[in-house]
Amino acid sequence: MFTTLIKFLTSAIDFGVIFLFGCAGEILTEKSGHLNLGIPGIMCMGAAGGCLGVKLCYLASPAPNAFLVVLMGILFAMLFAAALGAIYGFLTVSLRSNQNVSGLACTIFGVGFTSFFLNNAVLTEGVVAQLSQAGNNFFDAPLPGADSLGWFGSLFLDHGILVYLAIVIAVIAAVVLRYTKAGLSLRAVGESPATADAVGINVTGYKYIAILIGAAIAGLGGLCYVMDYMGGIVGSTVDQTIQGIGWLCIALVIFAMWKPAFAILGSIVFGALYILYPYLNSILMIIDPDFNLPTMTIPLFDIIPYAVTILVLIATSIVGRRETQPPASLGLSYFREDR
């Protein structure tokens, strides 16, 4: 029972960080006043870029340096994601287009491009197997002591590098937003760009930086799903799965009430909900060995994270506290000369 629970939590963390990347990226973006519905597409782009980065390493040498593989994966994931983020930023910041529509276009493009790119550029010539073995080893490598320290080891040390990276990023984001002048300025831009502009904050600059960094971080979520959680196995529906995860990331932002620190906890909760079915089954089997949750209930379990998000959304809107509300100018474009 206890081991199952530890295993459950470990997996919840492993899966949760995928949400954490997407959510932290979206929080940064939303703090600048931009609701980026392109996050699902951007996370897909991260997966596509990561696969390309890793593949390039293997094309260059049959047994590349582990550090290099991870670095290339991260670098390309961030580059690809930021590229789509840049398009979103250009449309919504410079060209002041509708954010909902621009975001959806980014998702449509990102998901389509990823599917096309993975099928036609990365997964050709039998690289699939190579990628799956390769990625797994390096991205999923646990810290020393993971096996020897019992439940502590498996809960806190038995994770790939990206898991720790996600938590570090979330903590840094929390600190920057709360304790630095840059964070104060970013929040001001999201609350009231006209005010921020009037005190000499470079509104456009902050918006672009927040969108680009946000997109790059979210892109790591796609990389994390493919290389860490899936162990490098790239299926044909990977773009659809990541898209679903991406929408949940946007939901998680609400769940975390725009606070990166809360997002760490929230992402683990979401991760736990997402993988609940198999673990619940095995826990119930301990109580009653003959018990078997029918597989047809799987879709019902899949509903839970979305339903929980809706409940949080309703709860926060009913309570209506000032601290839990979205940035005041979220979704509005800013034009200085508007009268």
Partner: protein
């Protein structure tokens, strides 16, 4: 003291660009997007067909056979139906991103009726029950977020977005409940489905085409001339003013979303009851999202939206042919190109709504720069001439 430079680019808002000019800019943007796609695809394709081969394939994919033409029009009107359903909500500035879910719920309700009533009751009665159930299911999926929006101002875009995935999983649940060991797709249903209206593809396509042409016209009239439509537009423009006019805003939000959702449900009804005659969990074909693009690109005007819907379906169908002809294994290329067209289309709006000035050019062209549409409000209020000012001073 450090001298700052004169800004190089300087942007001002413009209003009332003539329609033809706006259309021209949009057409140019789309053309650039297509040419760009053509060049990249031709360069990367395993079996390139040349610059014009791209456009040839595009047109033959869309119009190549009579069947394709019927399918093109069928999809155009289905998508238009979804877009029109969403416009009803958008006019109120209610961001209904839940089209996918509302369509799927329509499909599900229809499928349940077919499954349990098909062949057991007279067909016309089944059709009626199917229709009512689909409309109700779609409306239900839209009205839940609407109720919370109305009473607690719950963010509707995120709420409706989440509802999509709940609907999708509900459909998946029912399929695995009906076919525990089967695949995710259901064998076609035969009993109780709507009969074709004629021979071949035309017979199958005619129902959605006629139905949604009528629906579009009706919604156009509803929004433009009815008291309800006036209320919807008023709430979209200013909630305070609507309240001041004595409108029960909560009631109108709920009523409008029932209509919006029911129309999406109607699309589901046609998809399951007539076009596909079965159900699976991606049957909405992402029309809920594409419909948003259509509505927005069509300026929320049903007539322009019809054109946009036609163009997007032309592109999707045409690109499928391009993929085959150019030797790509994945059809996802189609989405990529459509996405690119969206980017250009969205981006070009900027040049319709704003005017860009470059440094150094601003002094000389003051005179001819004023917007000159006949309906422009600024024209008649010509700036007071200097003489007038002096006269007053004396």
């Amino acid at each position: 003291m450090k001298n700052t430079k004169e800004p190089f680019i300087h942007i001002t808002r413009r209003e009332g660009m003539p329609l033809w000019k706006g259309l021209l800019i949009r057409a140019a943007a789309v053309l650039i997007a297509l040419i760009l796609s053509d060049i990249v695809i031709s360069a990367a394709a395993p079996r390139s067909q040349g610059f014009f081969g791209f456009f040839g394939a595009l047109f033959s994919g869309a119009f190549g056979t009579e069947r394709r033409i019927w399918l093109l029009f069928q999809d155009t009107f289905l998508l238009l139906g979804v877009a029109v359903a969403l416009v009803v909500a958008f006019k109120m500035k209610f961001w209904n991103l839940g089209g996918n879910g509302q369509i799927l719920m329509g499909c599900l309700a229809c499928a349940i009726c077919l499954k349990y009533l098909g062949g057991k009751l007279p067909d016309p009665l089944v059709w009626l029950i199917m229709l009512v159930a689909s409309l109700a299911a779609g409306a239900l999926w839209a009205v839940i977020p609407a109720i919370f929006k109305a009473f607690f101002n719950t963010n509707e875009s995120l709420f409706t977005l989440m509802m999509n995935y709940i609907a999708m999983n509900l459909v998946a649940f029912f399929i695995s409940y009906w076919y525990p060991n089967g695949t995710a797709t259901m064998p076609p249903l035969t009993e109780g489905v709507l009969p074709p209206l004629g021979e071949g593809q035309m017979g199958k396509s005619l129902l959605p085409i006629l139905l949604f042409a009528v629906v579009t016209a009706a919604i156009y009239l509803y929004l433009r001339f009815s008291k309800h439509g006036y209320e919807v537009a008023l709430i979209g423009d200013s909630k305070n003013t609507a309240r001041y006019a004595g409108i029960n805003v909560k009631k109108v939000i709920i009523r409008t979303l029932i209509l919006s959702g029911a129309l999406c449900g109607l699309v589901g009804f046609v998809l399951t009851g007539s076009v596909n005659r079965m159900i699976h969990d991606t049957m909405d074909n992402n029309m809920g999202f594409t419909g948003i693009m259509v509505a927005w690109m069509g300026n929320l005007d049903p007539l322009i939206m019809a054109g946009v819907s036609f163009f997007i379906n032309f592109l999707t169908r045409g690109m499928a042919q391009v993929c085959t002809k150019f030797g790509f294994t994945s059809e996802a290329l189609s989405d990529t190109v459509v996405g690119l067209v969206y980017f250009f289309f969205i981006g070009c709006e900027f040049f319709i709504r704003y005017r860009v000035h470059f440094a150094g050019r601003q002094n000389k062209q003051r005179g001819e720069e004023t917007p000159t549409p006949p309906e422009d409000g600024e024209r008649k209020r010509a700036p007071l001439s200097k003489d007038a000012g002096e006269k007053e001073a004396n």
